[in-house]
């Protein structure tokens, strides 16, 4: 999957439409994610690029939650004057959150399990993500994920909850 800033911006401009139509220009959307399923667009923050916590918490009704961003999550680590930058995409699947690390060309380097914790409805996704990133890098404060997340427009996709009464 190759990420395109240009396509991301185009899609952002159409985000208001996304809110109600659940689809962007397919070609543009394909550039953002190669694995969009038949999910329902749930929320986006394209207008400001600064999603509120409240937007993250409304996962009621989702059996599976996926997160798509039009911008990358970047972590920077400086050791002995050498700065390492990594880019990730956060996804959730079957309640489990994981991170995908990309190289500079947008190729998947590896998928990192992010703890395998359940993603319950009502989740503060931002806090979860920060916690998981801390797990990946340790909790020494090297990450500036809070700030970065504010810049990251997130696109949530939701599969309707399929819970059934069991006799």
């Amino acid at each position: 999957m190759r990420y395109s800033i240009k396509n991301g911006l185009i899609c952002l401009l159409s985000a208001t439409v996304l809110l109600t139509q659940t689809s962007c220009d397919p070609a543009v959307w394909e550039a953002l994610s190669t694995a969009v399923e038949q999910n329902q667009a749930m929320t986006t923050n394209a207008a400001t690029g600064s999603p509120s916590t409240a937007q993250y918490t409304n996962t009621t009704g989702c059996n599976e939650l996926r997160v798509r961003k039009s911008y990358q999550i970047i972590t920077r680590k400086t050791v002995n004057g050498v700065t390492t930058t990594k880019r990730y995409e956060a996804r959730t699947e079957n309640y489990l959150m994981y991170l995908v690390e990309y190289d500079a060309n947008g190729r998947v380097l590896k998928r990192i399990d992010a703890g395998g914790e359940p993603l319950p409805a009502g989740l503060d996704f931002r806090a979860e993500l920060r916690q998981e990133m801390d797990y990946v890098y340790g909790s020494d404060g090297r990450l500036k994920l809070e700030q970065q997340l504010k810049m990251v427009p997130l696109f949530f996709y939701c599969k309707p909850w399929t819970a059934q009464l069991v006799n």
Binding site: T60, D113, G116, P120, A121, G122, V166
Partner: protein, 352 residues
């Protein structure tokens, strides 16, 4: 409807007597008409529990002998250990509510969970008495249910027999705590007479789909955390001998089995270690820790109940196609990952 199958089966038997012998039409009723009431009365439990050959993990033995823990739960649907669950009754007499809640609280004696009754406001489990059967959502599946709707139906009246009321309450609250049907856990292998099962449940108003969902479909390994099969579990339906191919039957279990108590205690224990699937493969991995089987998808990790010392963990390994349980003794307080080493596909447990 939960498990009042013997009663229903009796009615079903009468139904068969009425219609089974009079029809030459080839249908399901005809297929099961050879079951007689006498057979139903005479044939009793005849354990026939073998491994499930349909599953990808044809594990032929438990890693540790002598383990008696047997029960099944839905992975990732358990609540958090120590969590308080608010129970609200939407209707019913005070006496009935008190009785049901008291039985539900039996789980509390073994699970690190706290049921509290609420009469208004937010709630986690909402019980409605009525004629919509006996059913519940499983564990955290309760969370997204609209607060205006019940999450559990109980079909009790003042005439409901006490044993049945107790067993059904324990069963449905077992679901609410995250437990699955025992007859559907991966290691269950009840010799169902499939046409008879469909016909019977059809006679009590269940569709084939509903019967599959509640009775016949087996949980996958990757969706389940379970022990060996426990026919005495309160989560096990009663099984009438007419519904099996060899007369195997299970009576109604109306109280918590020893294994129910042990399993729920473990699954809600706050003493846990995390095990991660870190093998470079697309396949699942199953491991066994202190009597419970857990299956991880690639890159998945799972908090699993552990003891502060003396943990016994085994991983089902198939180096060079020769599968066997490989034992480890993990220390409490550490997280582990399962990694592949060497060129023979052998697996190893390392600190994470």
């Amino acid at each position: 409807m939960k498990r009042n199958h013997l009663l229903h089966a009796s009615a079903f038997g009468l139904l068969l007597l009425a219609i089974g012998f009079a029809s030459c039409k080839k249908n399901q009723d005809e297929e099961i008409s050879y079951f007689t009431a006498a057979e139903l009365a005479d044939i009793r439990a005849n354990t026939c529990l073998t491994e499930d050959a349909d599953e990808p993990y044809a594990m032929s033995e438990t890693p540790e002998s002598g383990v008696q823990d047997r029960a099944a739960g839905a992975k990732n649907k358990f609540w958090e250990p120590g969590q308080t669950l608010r129970v609200r009754f939407l209707n019913g007499s005070t006496a009935m509510q008190n009785k049901v809640f008291a039985y539900a609280e039996q789980w509390e004696a073994y699970a690190n969970i706290n049921f509290v009754r609420v009469t208004s406001g937010a709630s986690d489990i909402r019980v409605k008495f009525g004629t919509e059967g006996n059913n519940s959502y499983v564990g955290k599946d309760n969370v997204p249910i609209s607060p205006n709707l019940q999450t559990m139906n109980l079909n009790f009246t003042s005439n409901t027999k006490e044993d049945y009321l107790r067993g059904t309450t324990l069963h449905e609250f077992g679901h609410a705590l995250g437990l699955n049907h025992e007859q559907q856990q991966p290691l269950a292998n009840i010799p169902w007479n499939i046409p008879a099962v469909y016909a019977f449940y059809q006679s009590v108003g269940w569709s084939k789909q509903k019967t599959d969902f509640n009775v016949l479909n087996k949980s996958t390994w990757e969706s389940s955390q379970h022990t060996a099969y426990d026919s005495k579990s309160v989560m096990q339906y009663s099984v009438d001998a007419k519904l099996t191919t060899n007369g195997f039957s299970i009576p109604e279990n109306n109280q918590l089995s020893a294994i129910d108590k042990d399993f729920i205690g473990k699954m809600y224990s706050s003493q846990r270690i995390r095990v991660r699937h870190n093998v470079n493969t697309t396949g699942n991995l199953t491991f066994w820790l202190n009597g419970i089987y857990h299956t991880l998808k690639p890159n998945e990790s799972l908090w699993v109940p552990a003891k502060t010392s003396g943990n016994q963990l085994s991983i089902w390994e198939c180096p060079n196609g020769n599968c066997a349980w490989e034992g480890y003794t993990p220390a409490y307080g550490k997280n582990y990952k399962i990694v592949a080493v060497g060129s023979n596909g052998n697996l190893t447990l390392t600190n994470d």
